[in-house]
């Protein structure tokens, strides 16, 4: 990373440290869901394995998606308050400005995921994953984090106001619920089931689930990676063109 990227990353880290609500939200919600499903609704779901083991991969993904609205808001504030114009006039590269936001989003989500996995273990999560599987989990989480961060940065840049920016990330927060995160897709009603099977979060969660169970499947893993590359590229190109166009 360039010197400017480091300067701007430091700035974004300060923002997170001074307003830790984003990390807190990203940890709290998946943990509450997990506790509720494991202890309250408990045996009502028959997913073919212990529920905590089934749910944790989805909660890991929610650790990413619940942190995104903060990024959209902060990128949008930079745009609407004139910070981005100030940086453009100073000849700070768009790469440095946007990379700072992406890196801090990924760091925040890793923090949230660390906490979520910790709580999962405390609740009885017992993955069968070996070291290589865990590395696979880390790699995929990183890829999803980077891809969704670029998409969120683009949404934040494109939104006309902070309210819109917040709204635009809602689908990213809702999508895990319409995937195999909480219950298997085949248990859903017609229509929803097909949607759940073919949307990006399902192969991503299934890949995480496979890796954590120690039984990774190459097919879903490739689909998951393809979605990450696709989402990431769209977000990246969209973010860069919006950055250049909007003054």
């Amino acid at each position: 990373m360039s010197a400017d990227s480091m300067v701007l990353l430091r700035r974004n880290v300060k923002h997170t440290v001074r307003n830790p609500v984003a990390v807190f939200n990203a940890v709290l919600f998946p943990v509450v869901l997990m506790v509720m499903f494991v202890y309250v609704l408990g045996g009502a779901f028959s997913v073919g394995e212990r529920y905590i083991d089934y749910a944790t991969p989805g909660m890991i993904l929610m650790g990413i998606s619940y942190g995104l609205s903060a990024t959209a808001l902060s990128v949008n504030t930079d745009m609407t308050k004139g910070i981005i114009n100030r940086l453009r006039v100073m000849d700070v590269s768009r790469g440095a400005v946007l990379t700072g936001h992406v890196v801090v989003t990924v760091l925040r989500s890793l923090l949230a995921i660390g906490a979520i996995v910790g709580v999962a273990f405390a609740l009885g999560f017992r993955p069968a994953a070996g070291l290589v599987d865990w590395l696979g989990v880390a790699g995929l989480v990183l890829a999803v984090g980077i891809a969704l961060s670029w998409l969120t940065v683009a949404l934040g840049l494109a939104a006309k106001s902070a309210e819109t920016a917040g709204m635009l990330t809602v689908p990213l927060v809702m999508l895990p619920f319409l995937s195999s995160a909480v219950v298997p897709a085949e248990k859903m009603g017609p229509g929803v089931r097909q949607f759940a099977e073919y949307q990006p979060f399902t192969p991503i969660i299934e890949t995480l689930r496979g890796l954590l169970a120690g039984t990774p499947s190459t097919g879903t893993a490739l689909a998951a990676l393809a979605w990450c590359v696709g989402i990431g590229l769209v977000g990246y190109v969209w973010a860069l063109t919006t950055f250049r166009r909007r003054a």
Partner: protein, 324 residues
């Protein structure tokens, strides 16, 4: 830091030279053929209402927006072909204070110093001196979100000065400020010019242009409708006057007879008397009314504002509806 050395190829002393500048957004013409020349070390003010095209002009001149046609040279460099050189020479303070609210005043300035590559002790010294100069030292450790509007503008301008730009663009620097903060901003702008900096300032306030600018251009619906010194401009607009409203036509008749040079409006029962200025002239006017035993129902002293300038220069009232 930029040393502000003059461009050796460009022998003219224009800090900003604009010719035939045009810009449309969709089918909306925002700038329709602007020509400007701002000599080095002067304050130039672009005066106009909301939506006249002031911010678009600033955006084009500061490399943020690309013009559709025309040439723009800033600090001797073309804004489209030599963007980097232009950016190295200018500082911009936008219409809304672009400060990072989550950071303290000191951190905001340090951020600019880091991005301008004024590192280490030199950077810290620069930050401290700017905080002192702008009277922000006491609030330096507080987040900018706690600052008043005036303090934010000062911090914004201080951030712009990091890197020592030779040409500074100020887009409506005092809009929304209380009178005392406006005065402070004006004083700061004057000291900048005393150091040889060129200032391009946009404003909606006639008195601001009058107070600060060496030259003023009036922008209306994307065209310059007048340009000159503030004195030139004021000669072209109606001076201040006293407006009197009477109870009936008889009083209006009498008053119009005894006050030569007054303009009457029978429909409104008002009389506009050119103001000779000062309290003695005003007393004279009131005494004359008294001598003839007439009294005005309403009485107002009106000084020309931007609306009058617009009416005088364009023949139509200040239209707020034209898009930016």
């Amino acid at each position: 830091m930029s040393d502000g050395a003059p461009n050796l190829v460009d022998v003219s002393t224009s800090a900003i030279a604009v010719s035939g500048l045009r810009k449309s957004f969709g089918d909306k013409k925002v700038l329709d053929g602007i020509d400007l020349d701002v000599p080095e070390g002067t304050i130039f003010s672009l005066l106009g209402p909301n939506g006249a095209g002031k911010t678009t002009t600033v955006n084009v001149l500061t490399t943020l927006t690309r013009a559709d046609a025309g040439t723009v040279r800033v600090a001797g460099h073309d804004v489209t072909t030599d963007t980097r050189a232009v950016r190295a020479a200018i500082g911009v303070t936008g219409q809304f204070a672009a400060v990072d609210e989550m950071l303290t005043g000191r951190e905001n300035l340090q951020l600019m110093a880091d991005l301008r590559h004024v590192g280490g002790a030199a950077g810290r010294r620069l930050v401290t001196s700017l905080l002192d100069r702008f009277d922000l030292a006491d609030a330096a450790g507080k987040p900018a979100s706690t600052y008043s509007g005036g303090m934010r503008r000062k911090l914004d301008l201080a951030m712009t000065l990091v890197g020592d730009p030779r040409i500074i663009f100020l887009d409506e620097p005092t809009t929304g400020l209380d009178p005392r903060s406006r005065r402070t901003m004006w004083d700061i702008v004057r000291t900048l010019v005393a150091d040889g900096v060129t200032i391009f300032l946009t404003t909606q306030y006639l008195d601001e242009a009058d107070q600060l600018a060496d030259r003023v251009a009036v922008l209306d619906r994307g065209r310059l409708v007048a340009e000159g010194t503030p004195a030139d401009l004021k000669r072209r607009i109606p001076g201040s006057h006293v407006e009197l409203r009477f109870a009936d036509l008889a009083d209006l008749d009498t008053a119009a007879r005894v006050l030569p040079g007054a303009v009457r409006d029978d429909g409104d029962l008002t009389l506009r008397v050119p103001d000779a200025g000062g309290s003695a002239a005003l007393r004279g006017l009131l005494d004359r009314l008294d001598e003839h035993s007439i009294s005005a129902e309403e009485f107002a002293v009106r000084t020309p504002d931007l609306d009058d300038v617009f009416l005088a220069l364009t023949g139509h009232p200040n239209a707020e509806v034209v898009a930016r």
